[in-house]
């Protein structure tokens, strides 16, 4: 590991105020070194939202290289940290995250985690998968998003619509999603969700 990066990592672990943490994370992100990945993921658990947002951005820039560690280091005991991990994985869009996103969207107890996962299920880079895997994976994403369009929490349903809007770009799924949107546009109890469906329909047409 580059000695500069080591120093910058130490600065993050030793930061004793919120402001020092933020600048230490900024400096570490700036070197764009994959050796920083575990430290950046650990920042999600420090209960410092400003630093966490910068760490998310840094990990997204590192992209696919960060995915295996993001998957391994997922924090099962801290839903705040977990939401940042899921948001990062969603933004990177590597389909290795599929199983985790499916589970998080359907079963996590924290709404923030479920919303991030639902959005993420729409925007995975499917072309990275083999043809046979891809069709299966897309079907699973569709089934999970359809199931949570029935959730009692309007914000989860809203996030499902955002995910489905992206999935609707896949020709094989388009028809089913349009039918679901038409139904939600009439039946959903929340005006905000119906409005988001209207926007998704407008984007699709």
């Amino acid at each position: 590991m580059n000695t500069d990066t080591q120093k910058l990592i130490r600065a993050v672990t030793e930061a004793d105020t919120s402001a020092r943490m933020v600048s230490a994370v900024e400096n570490l992100v700036a070197v764009k070194d994959t050796a920083a990945i575990p430290t950046l993921i650990a920042v999600f658990g420090y209960n410092n939202p400003a630093a966490a947002v910068i760490a998310v951005k840094g990990l997204i820039e590192l992209g696919d290289a960060a995915v295996p560690q993001l998957l391994e280091q997922i924090d099962d005991y801290n839903y705040g940290a977990r939401a940042y991990s899921i948001r990062t994985l969603a933004a990177i869009g590597n389909p290795q995250a599929l199983e985790l996103l499916l589970e998080a969207a359907a079963t996590d107890f924290a709404p923030s985690v479920r919303r991030a996962a639902a959005k993420g299920l729409g925007c995975l880079r499917w072309q990275k998968l083999e043809d046979s895997e891809r069709i299966e994976a897309q079907k699973k994403a569709l089934a999970t998003l359809f199931s949570i369009t029935q959730d009692a929490d309007w914000a989860i349903r809203y996030a499902a619509v955002v995910g489905l809007e992206e999935l609707a770009k896949i020709p094989d799924l388009q028809q089913d999603i349009e039918a679901k949107f038409s139904q939600m546009r009439i039946e959903d109890a929340a005006i905000a969700v119906r409005a988001r469906v209207a926007l998704a329909q407008q984007v699709a047409s």
Binding site: S112, A155, A159, A190, I191, A192, A195, L199
Partner: protein
């Protein structure tokens, strides 16, 4: 203002109820079952004439008393009636504004805010008598002498425009929550941006609870110019989403026909970014 004992019964630690059983319990001799049933019927919005009538009767309950002279069953009945959207409850709730128990007055004002019935205006105004000078804390209690926040918000929700001059001085009250309630009401009554901006300023307050409250106020009044400030506020995304939802839904005057424009699309893009 949160009443200390308000959440002592929760869905997890109480026996499961059905609407039928809750109605029976509301009239039974066990006071704790009655108290819980009143809460439950509101929570699950069991809106039948029988429930509303029984809850209206419970507003005059004399049996369930606390050591300090409070009326727990009346409080829960008043809270539940706000959620049932039946304006037959209005006269009983107006009467509750004169109850000796602060929390009954607060619950009644909150429910009258939800029912938005102009008949309540004179009785609400009465609680503001003496103005800011009279709006002081009760010694030894965690609340002011009247539920000012709830009263101000109710007058705003009801749209009692002639009460503006009474409400305006409360913008300078020493308690930030009361200031916010006044700003919220003034915005609802005048649509003048200066009152919305007062709420926006609270998003910079050092107290997270006040920032959350300001978000909820901005969402409730639908102050559209706050959208970006809401999205960037230092508060959990869940609260920001609810506030932006309020802004968005306020943009649709016809709740059945959804017409998208630049403003509503921008709001949804902000919401998408918070998922």
């Amino acid at each position: 203002m949160i009443e200390p004992s308000a959440e002592q019964y929760t869905a997890e630690n109480a026996p499961p109820l059905t609407p039928e059983q809750a109605i029976v319990n509301l009239k039974c001799s066990d006071l704790s079952l009655r108290y819980y049933a009143a809460w439950w019927l509101g929570k699950f919005r069991v809106n039948s004439p029988e429930v509303v009538e029984a809850l209206i009767l419970a507003l005059e309950d004399e049996e369930d008393r606390t050591e300090l002279g409070g009326y727990p069953l009346r409080r829960n009945a008043a809270r539940a009636l706000g959620k049932l959207s039946d304006n037959r409850a209005v006269p009983g709730l107006i009467k509750c504004l004169e109850c000796s128990d602060f929390y009954v007055r607060e619950a009644a004002a909150q429910s009258l805010e939800m029912l938005k019935d102009t008949r309540a205006t004179p009785a609400l105004l009465k609680l503001l008598e003496g103005g800011v000078a009279a709006a002081v804390k009760v010694p030894g209690r965690p609340h002011l002498i009247q539920p000012y926040e709830a009263v101000l918000e109710a007058l705003g929700a009801i749209g009692a425009t002639h009460t503006k001059d009474v409400i305006r001085p409360f913008l300078e009250h020493s308690v930030v929550r009361v200031q916010c309630a006044a700003a919220r009401a003034m915005y609802q009554l005048t649509s003048e941006p200066e009152y919305g901006e007062r709420l926006v300023q609270v998003l910079q307050n050092g107290d997270l609870k006040l920032r959350r409250m300001a978000l909820s106020d901005l969402g409730a009044v639908g102050y559209i110019h706050a959208a970006d400030k809401i999205a960037s506020a230092s508060v959990e995304n869940s609260f920001k989403l609810i506030a932006l939802k309020g802004l968005l839904e306020n943009q649709f005057h016809d709740k059945d026909a959804i017409a998208l424009d630049d403003e509503t699309i921008k709001l949804m893009q902000l919401m998408d970014s918070l998922l």
